[in-house]
Symmetry: C2
Subunit: 84 residues, 2 copies
């Protein structure tokens, strides 16, 4: 498989993976079983991947991680709202 | 910053991010708020990133995603055990 297509498919999957989690949280308004440390470490790491993508000039890495940062920041905001 | 060091730091952060989630699940034996679809899509995507890493011959991508696959498979096994 062409490596750019592979990177784009991989990127789409890892980017959208947190969307079902976000939908579940918004629907159930419950975040008790979700780890805040996980979210914070993940957002930091994904942001560094965006930076890495710019340095290597690799669009699949930049786009997928930038999108994943947005989804996880939404999850973090939901966490703050729904955490008892 | 050197791009390989940047990639390694980014990789370490995204790889270890699910460890606090795994510890939380094992301690509390509760996975009700975790999305199974998220886990399945994430494991598929991370596996493709490993493949991408091999094609591009980029060690930070291979190592961090392979480790993340392992952590998320552990989380999936925990999910199967603790899901009511």
């Amino acid at each position: 498989m062409n490596e750019n297509i592979l990177g784009i498919i991989a990127g789409v999957l890892t980017s959208i993976s947190m969307i079902p989690q976000l939908i579940k949280v918004i629907k159930e308004k419950n975040v008790d079983d979700i780890s805040l440390v996980m979210l914070l470490v993940l957002i930091s790491g994904l942001s560094l991947w965006v930076w890495y993508g710019f340095k290597k000039d690799e669009l699949p890495i930049i786009l997928s991680n930038a999108f994943a940062v947005l989804v996880n920041i939404s999850l973090l905001v939901s966490y703050m709202i729904y955490k008892k």
